[in-house]
Symmetry: C3
Subunit: 173 residues, 3 copies
Amino acid sequence: MSTSASTTLVLGGARSGKSTYAESLLSRGNALYIATGQAFDDEMAERIRLHRDRRGPRWDTVEEPLALPEALDRVLDPARPVLVDCLTLWLSNLMHAGRDVDAETARLCEVLAAAAGPVVLVSNEVGLGLVPETRLGREFRDHQGRVNQRVAQTCHRVVFVAAGLPLFLKGAP
Amino acid sequence: MSTSASTTLVLGGARSGKSTYAESLLSRGNALYIATGQAFDDEMAERIRLHRDRRGPRWDTVEEPLALPEALDRVLDPARPVLVDCLTLWLSNLMHAGRDVDAETARLCEVLAAAAGPVVLVSNEVGLGLVPETRLGREFRDHQGRVNQRVAQTCHRVVFVAAGLPLFLKGAP
Amino acid sequence: MSTSASTTLVLGGARSGKSTYAESLLSRGNALYIATGQAFDDEMAERIRLHRDRRGPRWDTVEEPLALPEALDRVLDPARPVLVDCLTLWLSNLMHAGRDVDAETARLCEVLAAAAGPVVLVSNEVGLGLVPETRLGREFRDHQGRVNQRVAQTCHRVVFVAAGLPLFLKGAP
C-alpha cells in the first residue's frame, strides 16, 4: 500500500482468490483482521477455520458479525492496516438481524471516508447469475449490489479478482 | 458521446449500476428512453417505479415490451440519443410470447447497424453462476449469452459495469 | 500464438463466446481438440453436437472425460497446438466418478508447466451468482474456483471473455 490512508475494495466471486489477494495487499507489518463470519453450522465453521489457517498467526483477529462500522472506527490507526473479510457475510448477518442495511452501509462509508490508515475490504459479486428463485434471494442480491456500489464510490481503489488475478476498476495498481 | 452514430452496449449484473452508468452516457440533451419492462406483479411494478423515479422528468419514455427493433427504428434520429433498458427484459418478454429470439436479435442488430444517432443498450450478464436447475433457466441463459454476443459484435463500444464502475471490453472510453 | 510453448486459460460464463474465442487463438495449423464432455442426456448430446458443428472438420478430436492430464501429456507436441474444452465438464466428470480433484488438478498443472507446444484451455467461471442451494452445488463451485486459480497460476496467459470480447487478466494480448 503506497499511501497510509488508502481504502481498497476487493470484489470477486466465490473461491476467486479475493481473500488471498486482499491479504497480499497488507503483507507488510502488523495488520488487523476483522472477521464478520458466524458459524451457524458445521460447513460454515469449516470455512472459517480454513480462512484462519491460511492467514496464519501473523494476524490479530477481531470477530464482529454486526457492528462493523463501530468496530472499524474503534481500531482505525494510521500505523496499522485493517482487512475486513467480508461485506457479504456482514450483509447476511444484518438481514438476518432485521437491521436497516442502507443506514448501516452509509455509516460504514462515513467511517471509511475518515480512515487515517489503510483499509482493505472484501466483498462478493453475486448478481451475475440468473434471477434468484426466492424473494429473499432477490433482496439479498439487490442489497449486495447496492453495498458494493456505495463502498466502491467511497474507496480509493476497487479491484475485481477472477482466478486469483486482479483487474483494476478504480485507482492504479 | 463523441460521435453521433455511436452504439454502446452496457453489460452488468443485477444492481451493478449499469442503468445509472448508461444514463450518464446520455446526460446531455433531450434523450429518449425505451423501456422494455412489463409489470406482471407488484415487485416488478416497484422496480419499474424506482427506475422511473431515478431518471426523473428529463426523459421521454416509450414502453415497448416486444417490438423493440421496430420501436427503435421508428424513433432513431441523429439529433436525439436513445437508451434501451433493457435487453434482458425484452428477451424475457420474447420467450414468454413464443417469438423467435434469433430472428428478433438479427432484426435488432440490423437497426443498430443503420443507426444515425447515439444508442445505448443495457443488458444483463447472467451466465456466471452455476448451471440453472431448469431447462427454461438454461434456455434463457443461453439466449441471453447469444443476444449479448451478437449485439456486442454490432456495437461500437461494449462496457462491463461492476459496482458502478466501467471496464471497456470494446472501443475507447 | 507468438511462442510455441505458451499456455492460455480462457475463462468465461455460459454462452460468453469463450470456446469460439479459444478456437480463434489456434486458427492456424493443424490443431488437436480434447473434448471432455459426455452426453448423459439428449440436451447434452445436442450441446456437444453444436460445438462439433461449429468447429468443422479442421479439428482432430480426442474425447477424454476423465484422464485429461494423461491425454494431454500423450498428445503434446511442439508442432501441434491443443485446445482443451472444457475444464468445467472435466471437473463435473471427476466429481461424478469420486476422484480426488485437487490431486488431478495438480497433475494437470504439472503437464501444463512442461508443455512444449501451445495449449489453450477453456473453463467456466461459476462463482458470481448467489450461494447455491445444495451442498453439492457449493462443492462444485468451490472446486471450480480452485481449479481456475491453480491453472491460472500455471498458464502464461489468462483471458476473461464476456459477450465474445476478451479481457486480459494475465499476459499480453
